[in-house]
C-alpha cells in the first residue's frame, strides 16, 4: 500500500510540471496575448512581473509549487478574483453532478449488464448490447441537446438549463450518466460471463443452492471486482465530461469555469482548472486501487 502511495508522487510531480509548462506553450509572448494590443508597456511589465515571467523557468516552477503548497492558485487576469476562491465556489456543483451521474450509471448499468450476462446471446443481451453501443457513439454534446429537446422542449418535464430548482440537475446528470452506464453494462456483462464458468459457481450449483443465491452470493461478488476499477477510472473522466456538459446546460461548475477562462484567455484560471481536474483523477484512481485491494482477498492476503 505504501508502495502504491509513493508511486503516485512522480505522476503528481509530472502533472504539476506539465500544467506549469502549459502557459509557456502559448505561441509568442503570453503577456501580449493576455493583454491584447492596446496595453501599455508598463501594463505588460507589470503583468510579467506579477506572473513572475521575468525569471528563469526553474525559479518560476519553484514559485508555482511554493504557492500551490499554500493553497494559492494565483489571481484571475480577467477579474482579479482569487482563483482558489473561484474553485471552492464551483467545485461542489461539479461534484454533485458527477456523483448523481455515477449513481444513474450504476442503477442502469449494473442491472442491465447482469441481465445481459444471464441471458447471453438472447434478446435481452442483444438489446443491451445495441443500447450500449449506440450510447457510446453519442458524445455529451449530442446526447445533451437530444435529451434537452426531448424532456425540456417537447415534453416540458424538466428545466432546459441553469441551476434553479432541484430538477435542473437531472438533464446534465443523465447526459453524463448514460455514457458511463453503457461502459458499465458491457463491463458487468463480460465480467459476470467469465465468472459464471468458474469452478466455485459450479460447486455452488452442485450443492443445490437456489440459482438466485448462486448469482447474487457467489458469482456477482467476484464479478464486480473489475467493475469497481472501471468505475473509479470513469469517475475521473466524468469530471472531464463535465466540461462540455456544464457548458451545454449552463451549470456553474468547474468545467464551465474552464471553458469561460479559455474564452477570456484567462490562462491562470485555465491552468488551475486543468490541474484540479487532473489531480482529482489521480486521487480517485489511487483510492480505487486501495478499495480494490481491500475488496479482493487475493490481494489483501498477498501483501
Amino acid at each position: 500500500m505504501l508502495k502504491r502511495l509513493l508511486g503516485v508522487l512522480p505522476v503528481v510531480f509530472g502533472v504539476l510540471l506539465l500544467t506549469f509548462l502549459l502557459v509557456h506553450l502559448v505561441p509568442g509572448d503570453p503577456v501580449e496575448v493576455m493583454l491584447g494590443e492596446s496595453a501599455t508597456q508598463a501594463d505588460r511589465a507589470g503583468l510579467r512581473a506579477a506572473l513572475g515571467l521575468d525569471q528563469p523557468l526553474p525559479v518560476q516552477f519553484g514559485h508555482y509549487l511554493l504557492h500551490l503548497a499554500q493553497g494559492d492558485f494565483g489571481r484571475s487576469i480577467h477579474s482579479g478574483a482569487d482563483i482558489a476562491g473561484l474553485l471552492a465556489e464551483r467545485l461542489p456543483a461539479t461534484l454533485r453532478l458527477a456523483l448523481l451521474a455515477l449513481a444513474i450509471a450504476v442503477l442502469i448499468g449494473l442491472p442491465l449488464g447482469i441481465l445481459a450476462a444471464l441471458h447471453a446471446r438472447r434478446w435481452p443481451d442483444q438489446l443491451a448490447t445495441i443500447a450500449s453501443l449506440t450510447l457510446s457513439a453519442m458524445p455529451h454534446f449530442w446526447l445533451g441537446p437530444l435529451l434537452m429537446l426531448l424532456f425540456a422542449l417537447w415534453l416540458g418535464w424538466l428545466p432546459v438549463s441553469g441551476m434553479e430548482g432541484r430538477w435542473a440537475i437531472v438533464l446534465p446528470a443523465l447526459t453524463l450518466g448514460f455514457g458511463l452506464a453503457a461502459i458499465l453494462t458491457r463491463m458487468t456483462r463480460a465480467s459476470l460471463l467469465e465468472v459464471l464458468h468458474e469452478d466455485y459457481v459450479r460447486t455452488a450449483r452442485a450443492k443445490g443452492l437456489p440459482e438466485r443465491q448462486v448469482i447474487l452470493g457467489h458469482a456477482l461478488r467476484a464479478a464486480l471486482l473489475p467493475v469497481v476499477t472501471v468505475l473509479g477510472l470513469q469517475l475521473g473522466s466524468l469530471l472531464a465530461g463535465a466540461v462540455i456538459t456544464e457548458t451545454i446546460f449552463s451549470w456553474d461548475g468547474i468545467g464551465r469555469l474552464l471553458v469561460e477562462s479559455i474564452e477570456k484567455r484567462d490562462y491562470p484560471v485555465t491552468q488551475a482548472c486543468v490541474l484540479v481536474i487532473a489531480l482529482s483523477y489521480v486521487l480517485v484512481n489511487l483510492l480505487t486501487d486501495l478499495v480494490y485491494a481491500r475488496l479482493d482477498p487475493r490481494i489483501r492476503f498477498a501483501s
Binding site: L18, T134, M138, P139, P145, V259, T270, A278
Partner: protein, 272 residues
C-alpha cells in the same frame, strides 16, 4: 465488408471526399448552395427541395456544410492517427526492445499524460495554442500517441524473448531489421484495431474541441461548431442539431463496430 458498418463508413468516406472537393474547388452541388453561401432571407429554414436538410442560422445549406464537416472530421482523424501511430509505435518499439532508462522515461511520461482524464489535456493544449485547424491537429497529436506507445512497448517487451527474434539476433541482424522485420509484423493486428478505435475517438475529439470554439473557425464548417450553433436554436430549428448529431453518431458507431469486428476477426485481446 458485407456489413452495414462497412457501407456506412464507405458512405461517409465518399461524402468527405465530395466535401473536400467542393471546398477546394469552390463549386456547389448542382441545385444546392455552396457551404458558405449566406442567405439571410431563409434563416433556419426547414428542409425543402433547395436544401434537403434545411438551413442554418445564417441561411446556409446544412447538407453542404455537413459534407464539408465530414471532410474535416475524417481528414483530421486520419492525419492525426497516421502521425501518432508512426511516432508512438517507434517510441514503444525502442523502449520495449532496449528497456533501461529509455523505457523508464517513456513509462513516466505516459503515466503523466494518462493522469489527465479524457480529452482534458487536448482541451488544455488547444486552449493555449489558440483556435485553428493546425493547432487543433497539434493538440490532438500531442495527446494521442500515448496509447500506441504503451501498446507497442508492452508487446515488444514480450516479443523480444521469442525464439525467432533471438535467432535473428544471434545471426547478427541489425536492430532496425529486428524491430521492423521480426517484431513489427506481429504487432500489426493489435495496432490496426487500436487505430480503428482511435479514429472514432478522434472524430469525437475534433468535434468536442470545435464545439468549445477551439477547432475549425468560421466560415469553415465542422460538426462540432455546427452542433454548438444548433444548440442555440434548438427550440426553433431542431432539424439543425438532429442532422449533425445523427451524422456524427452514425460515423462513430460504424467505425467502432468495424473495430469490434476487426478485433474478433484478428483475435486481438484488448485491455480496456
Amino acid at each position: 465488408m458485407k456489413h452495414w458498418s462497412g457501407y456506412v463508413l464507405l458512405f461517409w468516406l465518399l461524402a468527405a471526399l465530395l466535401g473536400l472537393l467542393l471546398s477546394v474547388s469552390g463549386l456547389a452541388l448542382p441545385g444546392f448552395a455552396q457551404a458558405d453561401q449566406i442567405d439571410l432571407s431563409r434563416l433556419l429554414a426547414l428542409p425543402d427541395s433547395s436544401a434537403w436538410l434545411g438551413r442554418d442560422d445564417l441561411g446556409r445549406d446544412i447538407l453542404s456544410r455537413l459534407l464539408e464537416g465530414a471532410s474535416v472530421a475524417l481528414s483530421v482523424a486520419l492525419v492525426v492517427t497516421s502521425i501518432t501511430l508512426l511516432f508512438g509505435t517507434l517510441l514503444g518499439l525502442l523502449a520495449g526492445y532496449y528497456g533501461g532508462w529509455l523505457d523508464r522515461l517513456l513509462m513516466q511520461v505516459t503515466d503523466v499524460f494518462l493522469a489527465f482524464p479524457g480529452i482534458l489535456l487536448a482541451i488544455a493544449f488547444a486552449a493555449v495554442l489558440g483556435p485553428g485547424l493546425l493547432n487543433l491537429v497539434m493538440a490532438l497529436c500531442l495527446t494521442s500517441w500515448v496509447g500506441y506507445a504503451r501498446l507497442t512497448r508492452v508487446q515488444a517487451l514480450s516479443l523480444r524473448q521469442r525464439q525467432h527474434v533471438q535467432a535473428a539476433e544471434s545471426l547478427g541482424a541489425s536492430v532496425p531489421r529486428i524491430l521492423l522485420r521480426h517484431i513489427l509484423p506481429l504487432l500489426a493486428a493489435p495496432l490496426l484495431v487500436e487505430a480503428t478505435y482511435g479514429i472514432a475517438g478522434l472524430v469525437i475529439a475534433e468535434a468536442s474541441l470545435s464545439f468549445l470554439g477551439l477547432g475549425i473557425q468560421a466560415p469553415h464548417a465542422s460538426w462540432g461548431s455546427m452542433l454548438r450553433d444548433g444548440v442555440r436554436y434548438l427550440l426553433v430549428a431542431p432539424h439543425y442539431v438532429l442532422a449533425v448529431g445523427f451524422s456524427l453518431m452514425s460515423l462513430v458507431l460504424a467505425v467502432n463496430v468495424l473495430g469490434d469486428r476487426l478485433r474478433d476477426a484478428l483475435d486481438v485481446r484488448r485491455s480496456d
